[in-house]
């Protein structure tokens, strides 16, 4: 996935000289996860900018650059580091279009490596995506494959509205995927196309017995659970990768729930008021009569993300996902 993200940045910067990258340690180091590696040599220090350690300053100055007419891509080093920049995102990035008659949106991308599973110290493993999905004016997306990472980041950069780009760091380097290197759309005339890449869910596995709905780093776990359901119970689960967390792709979700009659939502973020609650509500509101069982949630817990010695107890495991699936199947 890191290579996909790096490719997207490279292609966007090559095609559009308004695009620049800024954040802590993004230039000379190439970012702590190396997502921006090599860009400094190619595009120079005016377009790949190491900033002071100040997230409100990073997001706030990026908003100013966007107002001027540039397309900044901000890297937040780790999930929890975004909290000092939260006000700039909520009060300004999200409202700039609204405050300017829809004419001057804050066209920034805020990339946030998020989630646990990398044995990181305290406060390096949060999943804050629901906080952003709750803020009107933002788009919130999360890829789970290298190809989606490339395509969605390219779209996010050229998209007029501010995009919170959640990057599941646990699967940054999990698995390889071959995909055409050519951008999926013409970067120089991306208007109108980008929304499609930032609003549609993906069917990661077909099936008609159970809808398994997730995003980010828990998608691979859902795929594994689906394979085990198939071999152990002969149940074929349809795995839906949300990709867009706001807006949710309601048609794909409801269609999956209707077709399968059973649904389980999986995410790593805490349960209460998490995206699972929204997905579950949408399905119950629109497909209740097609359901054989209530929608089940398999999520993180309403506790601080634990110290890493316990993180595997917290992150939804394949076994927990299977238990949730069995509960719905046996209801």
């Amino acid at each position: 996935m890191v290579e996909g993200l790096n490719l997207a940045l490279d292609q966007a910067m090559a095609a559009d000289d308004r695009v620049l990258v800024m954040g802590e340690d993004v230039a000379r180091t190439g970012g702590v996860f190396r997502v921006t590696a090599g860009l400094l040599d190619k595009y120079g220090e005016d377009r790949v900018i190491d900033t002071p350690l100040a997230e409100a300053g990073i997001v706030g100055t990026a908003i100013g650059m966007a107002v001027y007419g540039l397309l900044p891509v901000v890297e937040i080093q780790f999930d929890t580091f975004v909290y000092p920049g939260f006000e700039q995102i909520v009060v300004h990035a999200a409202r700039y279009a609204w405050r300017t008659r829809g004419e001057v949106p804050a066209s920034i991308v805020v990339r946030i490596p998020f989630g646990g599973g990398v044995r990181a110290p305290e406060l390096h493993s949060d999943s804050p995506e629901a906080l952003f999905a709750h803020v009107p004016g933002l788009k919130v997306v999360c890829p789970s494959t290298p190809e989606d990472a490339r395509d969605m980041l390219l779209a996010a950069i050229e998209h007029p509205d501010p995009v919170i780009f959640m990057e599941p760091k646990r699967i940054y380097r999990a698995g390889r995927q071959d995909f055409p290197e050519e951008p999926p759309f013409d970067i120089s005339s991306a208007d109108g196309v980008t929304t499609d890449y930032l609003s549609k869910a993906r069917i990661a596995r077909s099936g008609h017995d159970l809808a398994l709905i997730s995003y980010g780093a828990t998608v691979p776990a859902c795929m594994e659970a689906a394979e085990r359901l198939s071999s152990e119970r002969g149940v074929e689960a349809r795995v839906v990768d949300l990709r867009s967390l706001y807006p949710l792709d309601v048609d794909t979700l409801v269609h999956a729930a209707t077709a399968c009659g059973r649904a389980v939502v999986v995410h790593e973020a805490p349960r209460t008021a998490g995206l699972g609650a929204e997905v579950s509500s949408l399905i119950h509101e629109r497909a209740m009569l097609d359901l054989e069982a209530p929608v089940e949630r398999v999520t993180g817990f309403d506790v601080p993300f634990p110290q890493f010695i316990n993180e595997d107890d917290y992150i939804p495991s394949v076994d927990r996902i299977l238990a949730g699936c069995n509960k719905v199947l046996d209801w």
């Binding site: 706030g60 908003i63 650059m65 966007a66 107002v67 001027y68 007419g69 300004h92 829809g102 706001y246």
Partner: protein, 376 residues
């Protein structure tokens, strides 16, 4: 104010030499701008008292800190107001009716303007959060090889905020052409400046960010112009940002819902009022034979006429449609949830039209609600 830059004399201090760049025409334009701002402000307070605007943040007495710096800017320079400079856009061709409409609770095309078209940032309500935007704009200009600078206004209270520090720090590190214009009116609602900071002179804070800081007489528009002019020249020559502290006093209330009698001695305010910038500038311009009573009356009459027609335009606005809630949240295709929400609203009877709340507690006015209301 012993070390402040000052051109116009006061009390027993004589006039200092007028900057040679300023001719008669320039001085009159700065004064005219102050008159327009004053007339707008007094009208807005009166309209609020009559229940024709919502709560309003007045700036009576701070016209020098607005008209002076603005006149030093070129038309290409970006300016970022806080709510205390809410009407500054009208000097950059934003219709005054738009600003009135914003205070009357309108959004959309009625209450907001295109910041890129006017190079005037949105009226910033939260404290100090627009400072990074001003830095970003001027930084982008520099990165693109342009000469556009930015100027951002904020108060003494804003210097306590983290965004102030981060913006000043970025500007210093990247040497952005940014002018930080701090209006030290000594009060943040009820909190006096000595409870915001342990520093005596706010301009001293500039040193911590590697930029020059200067204190000017905030009731003197020419001093405000001069400091800004010099800072812009330095910025355009690649010298980076500057911090200007305009030392003055908040002669009015924080806003129309505030009553300063609860927390400060109004005799102190009355004492400062001797220095209020319109009367002081008028006297100065008459002293140097740039202005006379007839021309002054004409400037006020013109301003009152244009502000009156802006009020009429604002009051002629129709109640906004329901679509206004959803139309301009995104620049891209509207999310599906909006259609559903609009349908829900359309399926029930609409609540009656909202009216501003009308007269609220505040400092005593002069009585007649139609008369100009200052902190007299």
């Amino acid at each position: 104010m012993t070390d402040s830059l000052r051109i116009i004399g006061r009390d027993d201090l004589p006039d200092n030499e007028l900057p040679e760049e300023l001719g008669e025409k320039d001085l009159l334009e700065i004064f005219r701008s102050m008159v327009v701002l004053r007339v707008f402000d007094e009208r807005a307070v009166a309209l609020q008292r009559q229940g024709r605007l919502g709560t309003y943040a007045l700036y009576w007495g701070e016209e020098a800190t607005q008209a002076g710096p603005l006149y030093a800017c070129s038309e290409r320079d970006w300016i970022f107001p806080s709510y205390r400079q809410n009407a500054i856009g009208i000097l950059r061709a934003v219709p005054a009716s738009t600003i009135f409409a914003w205070w009357r609770g309108y959004g959309g095309r009625e209450g907001f303007y295109n910041v890129r078209e006017h190079r005037v940032g949105p009226i910033c309500v939260p404290i100090a959060t627009h400072l990074p935007h001003a830095v970003g704009v001027s930084w982008a200009s520099k990165l693109r090889g342009e000469r556009d600078a930015s100027l951002v206004w904020f108060g003494d209270g804003a210097t306590s905020e983290g965004d102030f520090h981060e913006a000043m720090n970025f500007a210093g590190v990247f040497k952005t052409p940014t002018i930080f214009f701090c209006v030290n009116n000594q009060w943040a609602i009820s909190t006096p400046v000595h409870k915001q900071t342990a520093v005596e002179v706010l301009a001293d804070k500039a040193a911590a960010y590697g930029m020059p800081g200067i204190r000017v007489d905030g009731f003197d528009p020419i001093a405000c112009w001069k400091a800004t002019h010099d800072a812009l020249e330095r910025a355009r020559a690649g010298g980076g940002p500057s911090f200007i502290e305009a030392y003055c006093y908040r002669l009015g209330a924080h806003g129309t819902a505030d009553d300063p009698r609860l927390y400060r001695n109004e005799a102190e305010a009355a004492n400062w009022k001797r220095l209020e910038p319109l009367a002081r500038t008028s006297a100065y311009l008459k002293r140097i034979a740039v202005l006379d009573d007839d021309l002054e009356s004409e400037l006020f009459a013109d301003a009152k006429k244009s502000i009156a027609s802006a009020v009429a335009e604002m009051e002629a606005l129709e109640h906004p449609s329901l679509e206004i809630l959803f139309d301009q949240v995104y620049a891209s295709r509207t999310p599906w949830t909006f259609e559903e929400s609009l349908r829900e609203l359309q399926s029930v009877e609409r609540p009656p039209e909202v009216k501003p709340l009308g007269a609220q507690p505040g400092p005593p006015s002069t009585g007649d609600a139609d008369a100009p209301v200052g902190p007299s």
